[in-house]
Symmetry: C2
Subunit: 471 residues, 2 copies
């Protein structure tokens, strides 16, 4: 059998024909435990290749060595869906000459699939692979479950290099990505630190404010008219969102409601809901904890989906478009219901849409859970610092002091009021918060564009400016 | 949820924008039980659309109504991998003005994937689907197991129409083809007759000549040096091939040999070998019987593969290229080891390569099992009527009177002789047969080309002429 194994990363990079100015890509399933992006960039730098565009589905603080490669000119442009706070600080300080391009996970997948964002070489960190490139996230030391975000890269990049620390006998039959899309396989010592990839279990909030919001959110879902047999649901891994799922589970079991599917990043709580019969299926683009990883490996009702199938706008089948309810977070939300998840209130990059914008656009009911203030900063603003998800996609804001319904959804407001839920005008919630925290002063901005936020239609939806120069 | 259901086939065809001269495609997993091709063509004819190119992975006698659509000009060109005898007679009589294009299953997949054979509208007969187009062959009344041959069509056709008789709740999570590739879903009363799709179980031959050949083939594999841990294997569903697998199983169990995978069209015999531990995995592009269908549905070691992953030449990963041994049939084989599986000895089309040429090209050891004669016609000829699989891909001919080794493989001949197996020159086998049957007279040919046989490189490898005009 002819294998695709090459002995070193350096050989794979050379064999792929990587040269100055090309675009390379990475996925983020190993999250803050990922060693692969740093390994690859160090090798590329050593080979003297420069001026690359780096397309990463997300970037975490473990990737801070990337800043050195930007300074030295190895990487000249950045395309991503999310950056952690440490990376964000450098980007907001203007480390790149050109603005970072932010896309939602679905938009990234659609643009790659359509060739609008061509990738020359995709580097696929795979927890297990065989010698011909069949690879999976379900097995191996650094098992992370779904490889959904890597699938568009594998399908559409000109050259695909699989990097793994665990070679299994051919054929690895339960592949996420098949050998039909892989050019080279490189074995390295470790692709990641399991501690950084997954929390042992994700945790429901114990914060009383969080619990109040979670219960309100679950009650709002129950009152919305959508919670019936066939119900579908997505939520993030934040503590309040998980608590909302727990309250929802109680309601569903009590009322014998059989949902159809839960979607998105999957946690052990959603696995529990599957096992309890709340859903028939889990559609998993990313596993958030170890329970989700063992479930996707062992339970055929728990299925991996590609980022295209998950959320690509303009595609023939994004599951987000069939979604009933999604619960999402916000660092800011304004009185037009626009949501910011890219920056903090000071305008410093510290996040990104991920699938936020996609799920909000698709779901019949998009709920934002956010407290009225954090660290004495009000969350509801006149205008968000950055429009990550447009208010036209947002239906309901849940705070500890009541629910604000988007005026475009009067029927929803009526249903919530009829259920006796505390529906409040968003301007009143804003005033309440400001009566406690005061009205924050406008944040000064720098003179350059640090980031272009692309909307789901591919156009620039907003821009994030650099922070003001110090001194 | 926005469904993709349209009420009638006619609406789906119109919505797809099908017009004169376009290319439509079909898969053959429902084999001689398929109702869908006839249903679709009848509707297309009713709509007055003409001059279509029909690309079908295979055609069976149930598709004889197609002849009427050829006569009336609805279908003007044909591309396929295989035709049954009834269809073949019409094609050999010259019903089409242009030659039929035959491709191996792997070549068809590669040409579709590369855009060399563009498909405007793919009609995917799916035993079960949901309202958004996620579909599978594993469930439903007409369950056929793998949909491997339909996957290239779904991935690359401009428009994809799923036709099913069984709509299951969304999401159908165990999809063969996901909604991300499907435009429309049409429910019809019945997509096929299960009796014609699958035999209850495929049967080992009881014919003494077949059993002699089967045992010789198994002994040859054992002597070849390839039968060791990690061994991989493909065989067809013919009685002698299945008997060879049964003899092979005995040897593998006796000698505690753990193979890696069995490939191709999968039968209950290969499922038994999986369960007995002879193989770790089954890689299944097509299920031949009910045991295979229930196994691919329930056993995660039994995995569906696309025709691209199975056998596409020039791809990054055709499993056929990693194959140790394949056992194949022949209607004729010549002294250069060229094999004919397209025509009978009279030159009438009655078959096709299917995956024959692909598996032969990839396998380390390609074995042809064929008796010295059938119905008093010798099988070994000076020149085959049609080169389906070139002799350069064929290593060994097994007959009831001995084994003929391709002279290009002297090491194989030495190994078989050392094992005491009856190795005979192919010319001597030919003479033996002719001493019994006599030398057949040359077959008269008609004046037109009935079929172009394309090789795996895309060039015309051989041509089949029409039969001589009668009278």
């Amino acid at each position: 059998m002819e294998t695709k194994l090459v002995s070193t990363l350096s050989q794979a990079i050379s064999a792929a024909g990587l040269t100055d100015g090309m675009t390379i890509s990475f996925h983020h399933h190993l999250r803050n435990g990922d060693y692969v992006l740093n390994l690859v960039l160090a090798e590329i730098a050593r080979l003297g290749i420069r001026g690359l565009t780096l397309n990463a589905s997300s970037l975490f603080d473990i990737h801070l060595p990337l800043m050195q490669h930007i300074r030295s000119g190895v990487v000249g442009k950045l395309q991503t869906g999310y950056v952690s706070a440490g990376i964000g600080r450098h980007l907001s300080a203007g480390i790149l000459a050109e603005p970072v391009e932010f896309r939602s996970h679905g938009t990234r997948a659609a643009d790659i699939a359509a060739g609008r964002v061509p990738i020359d070489v995709a580097f696929i960190a795979a927890p297990a692979a065989d010698c011909r490139g069949n690879c999976t996230g379900k097995l191996g030391r650094a098992a992370c479950g779904s490889l959904g975000y890597a699938i568009p890269d594998a399908l559409h990049a000109k050259t695909v290099i699989v990097i793994t620390d665990t070679i299994l006998p051919y054929p690895l039959a339960d592949w996420s990505i098949s050998e039909a899309y892989v050019d080279y396989v490189v074995q390295v010592e470790e692709i990641g630190n399991p501690q950084g990839i997954l929390s042992g279990t994700t945790q429901i909030t114990r914060d009383p404010v969080g619990l109040i919001m979670a219960e309100l959110a679950a009650q709002a879902i129950a009152a919305s008219g959508l919670l019936k047999d066939g119900f579908s649901f997505q939520t993030g891994a934040g503590g309040a969102s998980l608590a909302a799922a727990a309250f929802l589970k109680e309601i569903m079991l009590r009322e014998h409601i059989q949902g159809s599917f839960a979607l998105g990043g999957i946690t052990g709580y959603l696995v529990d809901m599957l096992r309890a019969g709340c859903f028939r299926q889990l559609m998993d683009v990313q596993c958030f904890d170890l329970d989700a990883v063992s479930s996707i490996r062992d339970d055929p009702r728990h299925r991996e989906i590609s980022a295209i199938h998950y959320a690509a706008p303009g595609s023939r089948g994004a599951v987000t478009d069939s979604l009933d309810v999604v619960i999402l977070g916000a660092t800011e939300i304004d009185t037009e219901f626009n949501v910011n998840v890219h920056t903090d209130s000071a305008g410093c990059l510290m996040g990104g849409s991920g699938g936020h914008t996609d799920a909000a656009a698709g779901a019949a009911l998009t709920i934002i859970i956010a407290p009225l203030f954090r660290a004495r900063l009000p969350i509801i603003t006149q205008h968000v610092t950055c429009i990550s998800t447009p208010g036209t996609s947002v239906d309901l804001l849940v705070t500890q002091r009541g629910l604000a319904v988007n005026p475009a959804k009067p029927e929803l407001a009526r249903r919530l009021q009829a259920a006796g839920l505390p529906v409040v005008d968003i301007h009143r919630l804003k005033a309440q918060a400001e009566s406690i925290t005061g009205v924050p002063r406008p944040v000064p901005r720098g003179s350059r564009v640090a980031a272009n936020i692309l909307g789901r239609d591919g156009a620039i939806q907003d821009q994030v400016m650099t922070l003001p120069e110090e001194g």
